[in-house]
Symmetry: C2
Subunit: 507 residues, 2 copies
């Protein structure tokens, strides 16, 4: 009954390179691994913050894609020549900017397997292992964090690996929104109000806007240095009561464990007591600091989490797992599924209809999803809980020691007490007077900004800034996998050296 | 002025495994590469659709993460024993389900480099190469697709690599929404209407819901077999006019190039003429079939794209690039940025303030973003335009030949004329009569469903279904990188064999 030409046929369209041939794949993959090892071995020789000018790459690249194939060796040569100089090296041991984006051997191996299988696990049937391993890993991590059992699959809740915090928040805001609109009607969407502190990450505001919450209904709860920039229940209550009086509908509260500017911790218990009184959904954003809470001595920062509705943290920040991965747990997955499910004919299958499986497409924005749990599974098994805790404790210890050095030096001031592995400090114009406050924050702000730029432009270390309570601060966020005490000492030496230079210019 | 203990210190927290040591990394990465090569060499021995039962993995996994570390060798043993049986093998040459999720050696190499650098390129400064290579690659692919210059950076527009189509559509719907709400006020959100055909992917409905569009304002434009399930301008016009009469506000149209069920092509020119008359944003979803349009002979499917506002296609489907990657181009990036930008103090930097750079955080939902352009750059350079076109043409040729075989066999019917590499067919109860229509669609639907399950459960090949115009069809989507003519012949033999068996049961 007919057949196509034999297997060697090019079907009339000759190719000069096979897109996938196992032995060629092996050869080139090994080549790239060795290239990567060389990159890591040399990483301290590169300026941490890229020193290229805007538009640098356009000048070096052709205007259009090549018509003919190029050897892998030529491409790797260009990676070295053109790409690496344009990197800001987040994996450098001298990277202290933003929050870390750290990695590990195990995480890399998991990512390779994920890429090789390349399964879009949107429904259970599209790769049962992808969904089931995610179920398992999320319960494992939930237990490591001592989340209440209602957040675990084993307790009727469940977890999902999202790409980023913004996605996780968007999914929960939409779930909360749709649940509320069922009560108040769709016309009420303009009345919904969401709450966060003035320290909360911009991702929350963005997610709320995307979900159609009015920009003017994004309520910012003020914080003060007296409370170490944590949200307080009384200010939250006042804001909610005022909104209700104005005829608005309070919807959602997003407390943070470890804010971006100063790693402040919002007190979950008291905040939830208020929020729950008014029926708000509470989502905890622990993107950075959640990791640390696998250590018993830091778990208290999550006290009160049992009263919340959802919780997320990002293994791709400070948990030795490459991007992207944001773990989100919810107590009531049905609300998430209600808001996010679709059921087109072409995706129907017996397993889904049996209701015995999780179809993660209904837990997230996207349909297609990578087999992200593999890398977390590799990290957890390869290192074990004991090592993971100690990896984190070492970073926290470095930060504690660095904070101690800072406090020993008159020209520096630790502006906010340290909670985790990030030290928030500023520089003071101390040679003007023994009482720097005489010069006001403005002088210190300017000096601190100068110090930051002066140090960053050397390329030897990289830090970033924030402004808390009107004070310009440098954030020294420890968490790169390769950072050791000697790197902290290098940074400390540089800060003193550049600080002293700056003080000379003042006198 | 003080310093921390020497570099060998464990800071009081001993670890038994280093999270990253270059030589150990090299050793284990090579091990995993060899593991992956073995996987690919054996891939035809695995059942394409996983045969595990729901809950299979839970039975095999411990209840909590290990406290102590485990050897990489043990973990890989478990990947083979526990994970691979739970995979549906999208990389199998016998995978014809959904749309492909194909890969290539070059794509894999790019993904390894992306993972190794692990840079979150949210702002230009966080890794200039990440942003600039994305600018370049997006212009390259835009030119390969002969997109109008207004979509390219070089022409005042620009492109961004999103994770999935749903994200791309969500970003453009939100951009269009906020632009419209500036005119009509936020209270108008309940009046906004979005339009798509009854063949459009569920991602559009989902994105609209997330953006706060009322579910009842998701307008489905009916299609018919007479137009090969393409949307028609006259039906669209009627729907828009009716909505305007009802006091609603038409917002957004999403035509598809290559629908999921039958790879139908909506005619962009005539649809845009209507949409633009009423001021709608038009976004083209070419997730699957966009790839083919780099071949001059298929480019006509995009005719009219010059009248649209945005366009997306997914290299992670049929462009030899691993997940996730969805290329989105917009004519007016400012509208996207207006809707999606945030500017918190802690992300401020000189480069952004110079307005000379692109900050991709304002072009997407998420903040963090992987260096996805690397894998596309590797694919484009390693293969070149000539090979990429021929890779695609070979798949289309296989589909054309397979369609020919189908048409030669009385028990099969090609239900919708083939446009690309997907053949849409059904089985007919031909031994009952020479005129199968006597038995109606219902009999054919049931028979086709039986055929699909009968073939799929062998594990030898995997296909999925759809329903178009009330007709249950099997979609035979060719696009796996490893598929050769011999695999198509195997599938053809199996379909005939199982078809004949089924006919016997009817007589």
């Amino acid at each position: 009954m007919g057949s196509l030409p034999n297997q060697d046929s090019d079907n009339g369209f000759p190719i000069t390179i096979n897109p996938f041939e196992p032995e060629e794949f092996r050869k080139h993959a090994h080549l790239v691994i060795d290239f990567i090892v060389e990159y890591y071995k040399n990483i301290e020789n590169y300026p941490v913050r890229s020193q290229v000018e805007p538009g640098y790459l356009k000048k070096r690249a052709p205007d259009s894609a090549p018509y003919d194939p190029e050897p892998v060796e030529d491409i790797l040569r260009d990676v070295k020549k053109d790409i690496i100089p344009g990197l800001t090296h987040w994996q450098s041991p001298n990277f202290y900017g933003y929050f870390p984006s750290n990695m590990s051997t195990a995480g890399f191996l998991g990512e390779m397997l994920c890429t090789a299988f390349n399964t879009p696990g949107f429904n259970w049937i599209t790769s049962p292992a992808s969904t089931e391993l995610e179920n398992i890993v999320m319960d494992w991590i939930g237990k490591m964090l001592q989340l209440p059992s209602e957040f675990l699959f084993s307790g009727g809740g469940g977890g999902v690996i999202q790409g980023t915090t913004c996605e996780a928040i968007l999914c929960t805001v939409v779930a909360a929104r749709d649940k509320m609109l069922q009560k108040v009607g769709h016309d009420g969407i303009g009345k919904l109000v969401v709450y966060a502190s003035d320290q909360t990450h911009s991702a929350f505001q963005k997610a709320s806007q995307i979900a159609g919450i009015r920009r003017e209904n994004f309520r910012t709860v003020g914080t003060t240095p007296d409370n170490a920039f944590a949200m307080t229940a009384s200010v939250l209550r006042a804001a909610i009561e005022s909104d209700i009086e104005s005829g608005l509908v309070p919807l959602f509260l997003c407390p943070t464990i470890g804010t971006t500017s100063s790693t402040a911790v919002d007190p979950l218990g008291p905040l939830c007591d208020v929020a729950k009184e008014f029926g708000l959904w509470v989502h905890v954003d622990a993107a950075y600091a959640g990791s640390a809470c696998i250590c018993p001595e830091f778990r208290h920062f999550l006290d009160g989490v049992e009263k919340t509705d959802s919780f997320s943290f990002n293994p791709h920040k400070w948990f030795f797992t490459t991007m992207d991965s944001c773990c989100l747990w919810v107590k009531d997955p049905a609300v998430l599924v209600e808001a996010l499910s679709t059921n087109p004919e072409y995706l129907r299958n017996k397993a889904s209809e049996s209701k015995r499986v999780v179809d993660y497409k209904d837990w997230q924005i996207c349909l297609n999803r990578r087999f992200r749990s593999l890398k977390l599974w590799l990290v957890l098994r390869r290192y074990g809980v004991a090592n993971l805790r100690n990896f984190l404790r070492r970073h926290v210890r470095m930060a504690k020691d660095f904070e101690g050095l800072m406090r020993s030096e008159k020209m520096f001031e630790v502006v906010v007490p340290r909670n985790f592995s990030t030290v928030v400090f500023r520089m003071l114009p101390v040679n003007y007077s023994s009482s720097p406050r005489v010069f006001g924050d403005q002088a210190a702000n300017e000096l601190t900004a100068k110090l930051l730029e002066s140090v960053n432009e050397t390329g030897k270390i990289f830090m970033t800034h924030a402004v808390v309570g009107g004070v310009y601060v440098i954030r020294f966020a420890i968490g790169a996998t390769l950072t050791e005490n000697r790197h902290i000492n290098l940074a400390w030496d540089m800060l003193q050296e550049h600080g002293n230079q700056l003080l000379l210019t003042l006198s």
